[in-house]
Point group: D2
Chain length 196, copies 4
C-alpha cells in the first residue's frame, strides 16, 4: 500500500493549515493510501532549533518520511514565503531526503497576492532535496475555510477544481512510484532504454 | 510514438546551447521517440518581438508544441536567469500551453555560481503554464563541451550521471503520459479514485 | 541634473505598460530630472533577437543607460514573470550595466496573484547587474488605468500611496547618487571610513 | 549614533556563520556605529517555534531591531535557501518590521553553486517586510574561514573586495538613514518634491 506523510507548518494551536492537513489525510485514506498528519509545532522545539534529526520524537518522523512514497507539505504563507517552522524541519533532513518521492506543496494565506510565493520560494528547495515530482502547488485562501466550534474546517466545494486536480495528480504520481518499484514498469515501456 | 519538442534559446549562431539541443534530439530519436530541435533564434524576429503567435514560421512551432508529449528547453544563463529569447517565445504561447506535458529544463553557463538560477527563475514560469511534470533541471557548465571545427559538441562522459538521470526521468515521464492517454492507465491503478 | 532612463517592455502597440512609463517620465521631468521613455518594442527586432548591442538604434539606448543615474523598468507580467522583451534588452547589456544606479521595477498585470512575480523573478537579475539600490517594486493592476481615445492613462489617485512611496524613494536614491558623485558626500559623513 | 543589529541563523554551537557575525560587529564598532550580535540559536526555542514575539529573551531583540537603523543577517545556506532558524525569527516580527531600514544579507556555504540562493530566496522576503534598501548580498564560501582553537575566524583578506564593497554600501545606507532622520535631508535636496 502506498504511503504518504502530511506535514503542516503553522506555529498556531488552532490553524487553517493544520485543518487542511487533516482533511487531506482523510481523503488519502478514503482513497486507499496509508497517510498520517504530523503538525511540526508538536515536535520538541529545542531539538528542532538545534537540528537534532536523531532526537526522540523527531527521528520517527524522519524515518516515516524516508519510507513514504509521497509527501504533502501544507504551510502558511509568512513574509511572502513558506513558514520558518516548515523550513527548520526540512533543514534537519538529509540533502536527498525527497529522492524518488512525489511532493504536493500547499500554501494557506490571507491574500491572493501570495499565490506565487510557494512556486518561487519552495520549488527550488524541494528540488535541491532531489524530489522526483513536485506537482502543481496550490494556494488555499482563508475564504475556503469554515469556522467550527474548535477551529476551522476546509469548505470542500470552495476548494475548487484546481485543488482537486493537483491532489489527483499527486495521488497518480504516488501510485506510479509504487508501481515502478514493484514491476519494473519502466523497462517494459522503454525496451530500448539507453544504458548509462 | 511519443513526441518531444526541443527548444534552444541562445542568440548566437555558434552556441553550446544549440549543440546540446542537437545532442538531446539524437538521443531521444535513438530511444525511439520523435524529436525535433528548433533554435528560437531562427524564428522571424519581428514576429517574435511583437508576439505574433500566428505568424508563418512561428505558428508551426506552436502547433508542434501543442501536439508534443514533452518539451526540452535548453537556455543559456544570462544575468542570473533564462535568456530573454527563451522567454519571448514562452510569452506568445497560451497560458496553459504546457498542460499535461513533461518538461526538462536545461541551462548552460560559464560559472557554477549559476546552478540555482534555473530552479529559482524558471520553475514558477513553467508551472504557471500548467506543466504536469517539470523534472530535475540540469546545469551544464562550459567545461562539458569540446571545441569542434564548426563549433561545439557536448562531451558525453563529462555530462555526468545527474544529467542522464534527469534525462531518463524525463523520458519516463513522456512515456507515462503517452501511456496514460492510450489505456486510461490511471483508472486501472486507482480503482477507488475520488470523483470530483 | 540627475537623469533617468525609463524602459517599457510590452510588445503591444497600445499598452497600459507604455502609458505608465509616459506618466512616470512626466512626473520625473516635473520634479526637475532629465527623463526619457524608450519602448523596447520600437528597437530593431532582428538586432534585439541577435543581441547586437552596437547596432544603430540600440547603441544609443545602451549609452543613455550608461550615463543615467537611475533606471525605471515597467514590464507587463507574463507567465508569472517579467516579459521576454524586457529581458532580451537586459541580456545585451554588460554584466555590470547597473553599477551605482538606482532602479525602480514596476509591473503591470491583470491579477493580484502576480504581485510577488517581480520581487521573486526580477530582483536577482537586477542585482546580478550590480544595481546599487533596487527600491520597493510596485505592481499596478489593470484597474488603475482609465481607457482613453487612443489607449490608456493611469488613474493618478488609484495608483495609491505605496506607488508614490516607491517613486519618492527612487527619486531620493537618484539624487543621493548625484550628490555622492559631486561632493564626495560619503567621506564627509563617515570620517573614520575603513580603508579597504 | 547609528545602530545596527547583527543576526546569525546557524543552529550549530560552533559555526562559521556566527564567527562572521562577530567579525562584522567588530568592524561596525571600529567604524563608530553601535552594533550587537544576536545568535538566533540562543533564543528560547519553545517561544521561537510558537512565534511568541513578546516572550522574555525575544521581546528585547524585537525592540532592538525596531530601534536600529540597519540589520545584518548572516545565514548558512541550507537546502538552496536561508536557514529555517533565520526565517522563524523573521516570521514573528511585524510585517513592516524593516521599514526605513538598510539590510545587508550575507550567506555562508560550502559550494559556489549556492551563490544565487540568497538573491532569489531572500530578497522577496526582506522587501515584503518593507526594507528601504537591501544592499548587494554576499556569499562567503567555507574557504574564506580559518580554523582556530575554539572554532572559526574569517580570513580578512580572503573575503575579497566585493564583500567590503557590500559592507561599505550598507554602512553608507545606514548613515544616510540616520542623516535623513536628523536634518530632513531629503527636503533640502529636492526642493520641488511632489506633494503626494
Amino acid at each position: 500500500m502506498a504511503s504518504v506523510l502530511v506535514l503542516s507548518g503553522s506555529p498556531s494551536k488552532v490553524s487553517r493549515t493544520a485543518a487542511l492537513a487533516d482533511f487531506i489525510v482523510r481523503r488519502l485514506v478514503a482513497d486507499g493510501l496509508a497517510a498520517r498528519h504530523v503538525a511540526l509545532r508538536t515536535l520538541p522545539p529545542a531539538d528542532l532549533v538545534a537540528a537534532h534529526a536523531g532526537a526522540p520524537g523527531i527521528a520517527e518522523v524522519v524515518a516515516e518520511l524516508a519510507a513514504a512514497d509521497g509527501l504533502v507539505i501544507v504551510t502558511p504563507t509568512y513574509k511572502a514565503a513558506y513558514s520558518g517552522l516548515t523550513k527548520i524541519f526540512l533543514d534537519l533532513l538529509p540533502q536527498s531526503a525527497l529522492e524518488d518521492k512525489a511532493v504536493l506543496p500547499i500554501a494557506t494565506g490571507g491574500s491572493l497576492a501570495h499565490v506565487l510565493a510557494l512556486d518561487y520560494s519552495f520549488r527550488a528547495v524541494l528540488h535541491s532535496m532531489r524530489a522526483r515530482h513536485v506537482v502543481q502547488s496550490h494556494f488555499v485562501p482563508d475564504s475556503c475555510f469554515l469556522k467550527t466550534d474548535g477551529g476551522y474546517e476546509p469548505d470542500e466545494t470552495a476548494l475548487g477544481p484546481l485543488f482537486y486536480a493537483a491532489f489527483d495528480e499527486f495521488r497518480r504520481s504516488v501510485h506510479a512510484h509504487e508501481h515502478f518499484r514493484s514491476v519494473d514498469f519502466v523497462r517494459s515501456l522503454v525496451p530500448s532504454a539507453t544504458k548509462v
